[in-house]
């Protein structure tokens, strides 16, 4: 089932001589249970794509739909509610609030959505447990390691009825082992039924995705999906040497 759909999306910034075509006719779908990675050089339109997918920006032309709801048709209020309830974000700079504990950070979207503090906290503690952070709920972000903070961000991104997780360089400043643990977690969350869109410049992390989309100058130039028979790699001469 399709969760995110971009249809012939264009995004133009500025006008006249300073016009920048950030995206030129991008069409992309992400299904439930699917992780799609977007790769491309700086300025290729990766972050614009992610912002449009999350309703943080609007396309100049074309349509973006989340769970069948076309974002352009939403009022600001409806869009804010959709962002709170159905879309989760994991950014490189985490955006955890330093004055709130890990559990309060995770509970925040639920409380903003009107849930009682007690129930929201219970759900937050359960969500932290799912990312192997049992017993860390009352710690503040600066009392956690980089990898633990990123796991809090993932727990917050996927709490409640979130169907779509958008991740922008989520392994950014982490070492390779911790970065891999974050990717494993993202992968398992997506395998659990969410749809994921990941922007990264690290091929090793993009490789956790089902599909890798290459953007160049705002255009999708290629898509790489899995081989039909993965084990072939280990026996064919082109695979391992």
């Amino acid at each position: 089932m399709t969760v995110l759909e971009l249809r012939d999306v264009h995004r133009v910034h500025g006008s006249g001589e300073t016009t920048v075509h950030a995206l030129r006719g991008v069409t992309l779908t992400v299904d439930a249970g699917e992780l799609v990675a977007v790769m491309g050089p700086s300025g290729s339109g990766k972050s614009t794509l992610l912002n449009l997918a999350g309703g943080l920006d609007r396309p100049t032309e074309g349509e973006v739909a989340v769970d069948g709801t076309v974002l352009a048709g939403c009022s600001r209020r409806a869009l804010a509610a959709l962002r709170r309830r159905r879309v989760g974000y994991v950014f490189q700079d985490l955006n955890l609030l330093a004055s709130l504990t890990a559990a309060e950070n995770v509970a925040l979207p639920l409380e903003l959505d009107g849930m009682g503090a007690r129930q929201a906290r219970q759900l937050a503690v359960a969500a932290l447990s799912e990312v192997d952070l049992d017993g860390h709920g009352s710690r503040f972000p600066d009392e956690l390691s980089g990898g633990q903070q990123q796991r809090v961000a993932i727990a917050r991104a996927l709490i409640g009825q979130r169907r779509l997780v958008l991740a922008d360089e989520p392994t950014g400043a982490l070492d390779s082992q911790t970065g891999e643990a974050v990717m494993r977690l993202l992968r398992s969350k997506v395998d659990g039924g969410a749809a994921g869109l990941l922007v990264t410049h690290e091929a090793r992390h993009a490789a956790w995705a089902d599909r890798v989309v290459f953007l160049r100058d705002g255009v999708v130039v290629d898509t790489s999906g899995p081989l039909d028979q993965p084990d072939e790699l280990l026996t064919t001469p082109g695979g391992v040497q």
Partner: protein
């Protein structure tokens, strides 16, 4: 240790990535025996001959572990050769060559990662490290291809020699040849 045990140990450690032919194992054992690095023991009940390592073999093994693997021991890099030739061959879309390779490298990386995801953390460390070696090699290739693409964007080919050739055929040709040989 018997030949078939050596083969099994090797394949277990490397996750069956490089399957060994049993004939190859015994040929190697004979060569090691000839060089004094291993010795054969009396045949067992099954009629098969076990081998053991000698002191000289142990010393040789220690030297092997202590010596870095040289780049010259690896095969020529066909991909680097292909890109270099693509740049100097008229009519080749070099960015397309880069992208075709990058998609293939990415697909390989995805499959290695899938194998890795299939095994949990408790999986055999030796096999995980072999898999990581392949993952890091593929990643290095992908990064190099990114670098190639960025370099191609900034690259402006030297002006064509033809217009000049009409006026000064000999020096223009010499200039072109010099550039081609530098690449």
């Amino acid at each position: 240790m018997y030949g078939y045990q050596l083969r099994a140990t090797f394949e277990e450690s490397t996750g069956g990535t490089w399957p060994l032919n049993i004939g190859q194992v015994y040929t190697t054992l004979s060569r090691l025996e000839r060089d004094g690095l291993a010795r054969s023991l009396p045949e067992g009940d099954g009629g098969q001959r076990p081998y053991e390592i000698t002191d000289a073999g142990r010393a040789d093994l220690a030297t092997w572990f202590g010596t870095p693997v040289g780049r010259s021991d690896r095969p020529r890099d066909e991909l680097a050769i292909k890109l270099a030739l693509a740049l100097s061959t008229p009519g080749v879309d070099v960015r397309a060559v880069v992208q075709t390779q990058r998609a293939a490298t990415m697909r390989m990386l995805q499959e290695y990662t899938r194998l890795k995801a299939r095994d949990d953390q408790a999986a055999d460390l030796a096999w995980r490290l072999v898999l990581d070696a392949m993952i890091f090699q593929a990643e290095a290739e992908a990064r190099w291809l990114d670098h190639c693409e960025a370099s191609l964007v900034r690259y402006s080919p030297p002006p064509a020699a033809e217009p000049q050739a009409a006026v000064e055929p000999r020096s223009a040709r010499a200039d072109h040849t010099a550039k081609a040989s530098r690449r």
